[in-house]
């Protein structure tokens, strides 16, 4: 650990004897804890077994022998959200499916990350105008990494996962939201409802206001 360049030494006035100089470094507790905490988390990101569409096939390929996700400590795909750290939204998010996705996300314990894989999850992709398609999972969930492609190649997905590791590296115990009261990004996302069309609970007031406009216009 001492040789790890990612742990910055603290500049200090304490004199270190010459004979142990190479084996000792002086730091403070937060600068030591953050890299250790992040180093262990970045190398054991457990994704959820959660395939939606075509992208899921490339996700399986990424996990298989040729591309070997085990190199990043990410080969442990968990079938339950309770044990996973990462949700790879791999494919088209449909209106019928989105309540389930949100429910799964809510069941994941903190710290949790969302990787949006492929054009459909990023913004609807080629199916954007469809009547049963959600135009991007980021309309509902906070997304950490977007991977473009239709479908992204395994290389692209690995690049996205490395980007996620870089993001984890930059987090600090002092500021991560999941140890804070009402931390941003840790709240439960309200599960949308399937009414005459997909109803986002957060938009209920807007929907009522729009309905009122229509009825008033008719009355006039």
């Amino acid at each position: 650990m001492t040789a790890d360049a990612s742990i910055p030494a603290l500049e200090s006035d304490i004199a270190i004897p010459d004979d142990v100089k190479d084996n000792v470094f002086i730091t403070n507790i937060s600068k030591l804890l953050d890299p250790v905490y992040n180093w262990s988390r970045r190398n054991s990101v457990w994704p959820m077994v959660f395939g939606l569409a075509c992208c899921a096939i490339e996700m399986i390929c990424t996990a298989s022998s040729r591309y070997d996700l085990a190199r990043f400590g990410m080969e442990v795909f968990r079938a339950t959200p309770r044990q996973s750290d990462l949700m790879i939204v791999s494919g088209t998010v449909t209106k019928k499916m989105v309540p389930t996705i949100i429910r799964l996300y809510n069941q994941m314990p903190e710290p949790r990350y969302v990787l949006s894989m492929g054009a459909c999850a990023n913004g609807g992709g080629p199916f954007k105008e469809g009547y049963n398609v959600v135009d991007g999972i980021d309309k509902f969930l906070p997304v950490d990494v977007y991977v473009p492609g239709c479908p992204p190649t395994p290389q692209a997905l690995i690049h996205g996962l490395i980007s996620l590791q870089e993001k984890i590296d930059q987090q600090s115990l002092a500021t991560v939201p999941w140890y804070r009261k009402n931390g941003i990004g840790t709240e439960i996302v309200p599960i949308p409802v399937l009414g005459p069309d997909l109803v986002d609970i957060r938009q209920l007031d807007l929907i009522r206001a729009e309905a009122k406009k229509v009825t008033e216009a008719e009355a006039a």
Binding site: E58, P126, L194, G195, E210, A211
Partner: protein, 603 residues
Amino acid sequence: MSETEMVMEAGDAPVVYASPPEEALADLKERFPDIRDDDRPDYSGVIVEADQLLAVAMALREELGFNYLSSVTGVDLIKDNKLEVVYHVYSIEKGGGPVVLKVQIDRDNPVVPSLTPYWPGADFQEREIWDLFGIKFDGHPDLRRILMWEEFQGFPMRKDWREAFYEEDNKPFGSRWPGGDVIRAEELNRYGKNVTYPDGWIPTGEEYEVETDMYGEVAVQRDETPGLKTDKVTVNMGPQHPSTHGVFRMVVTLDGETIVALKPVMGYLHRNHEKIGERNTFIQNIPYTDRLDYLSSMSNNHGYVLAVEKLLDIEPPERAEWIRILMVELTRIVNHAWALGFLLNDIGALQTPMLYLYIERELILDFFEAAAGSRMMCNYMRFGGLAFDLPERVREQPTMAYLNELVYERLPTAMAEFERLITGNEIAKARMQGVGYLSAEDAIAYSAAGPLLRASGVAYDVRRAQPYSYYDQLDFNVAVRYNGDIYDRYLVRVDEIYESIKIIKQVLPHLEATEGQPIMTGKPQYAVRVNGGEVYSRVENPKGELGYYVTAQRRASNPDRYHIRAPSFINLTAMEKMSIGHKVADLVAILGSIDIVLGEVDR
């Protein structure tokens, strides 16, 4: 032994032999003087009155031998204020073309008698038409929405139904040209999302407190009979489940561990392929077909370009045909490798068999990538030919050397090793033999296709029954097995891999002989205009019979109706029949043996 004899031996196939479709149609017209020819130019088939449909269909099946109801399609004829249901009925024994029946009904009160009680294969297809077109099927045992949810408003495939992001009827959108302006649909929508609500609809907020509704009834049924009391429990599998091959859901009623009822629930990947396809120009649909059965994009391309080539009245040059067959058969190997791996995954041989065939699959994908530019979504075929010729080199090897090595060395060795490990394996046999039985009669009645049909002893393969491309010049056998269980479906897939290798070996010399010849008929065209009319084109996909029903007006650049007969979707109809009486652990194995891909089930 001829194919017909094989069928006769395997099950109680109908004794009546089918006559060709023209004769059958003439016969039908004699029996039912009310039916009339579809006289629109370049349309085929006959128009039947709704109240006669049952009688006509039964005469067709029982007396004329057309026993395979392949496809049921809804069409919106908004100009005539009518809705239409199109039935394509084939004969398993004789092969050849379909008898096409059409029922036209009033758009305001569309009711058609249901064929489901007689032809269970129509079950899901009729539910889909009810869901998307709002045509009621009188006598259907369970007419609910299938792809959308129950509360959804309107029938989205009707021509006058507009989506939230609707711009214009036809692509490319005039509003964006000239200049190629980018329009963010979200900014034009008042909710900032792809949603729209009925005018004046006000959510009360109360209806959302019970959110278990969408999960169906997770219920316990009390047993009231005297004696030992056992409860039946309803369990939901999916839509998020590692063994449902995607976002598929089954509502299973269990007595102990035994399955007593099963209802598949789908639509979690319903991407509105057909609605989008009817707005796209013809060529824009090719990349969309890749995403139907996303494991076998080349085969999907093939079916679609064959359909549109019929509308255009062109044929691809010789080299293009041979390359197409090469690609399609390689796709079959890729798909079956995946299907076998997943089937074994589902019965507990976790990942190891999958990884064995995975190596060869990757080699084929590398070839696809070199040829088409993409591993999975190849978008390789064009009307009248191909997008590109074969690449010069694949993985630093000359292409032909690469293909020869693949076909003569790698694939046979890999298959031999795979078979040595699995085919005689006692555990695999114990899990697969005798499970998920489907008789030949049922397979035909349920409109099963592909390996599911052939494992039940019905030697029906579109490549033989109604040959397309150059398949009539190739020597290969139709893989058929007779026990109708999971093990036979496994064996059929293994056999088909060998047959595909055999076909590719015959194709390779032709590729060498046609080196340098054109791969397109005429110039590559981007804005094709078709002759108009109606076409139904089907190919033998790895999963089964994939059909494209396309209609267009004369000189049109967009299809009027674009429907896909998806084999995975229709094969699922037989799922309940196969599962009842088995243990819940066998359920995933039975599902794995059907080999579904959700992109195609839900489209």
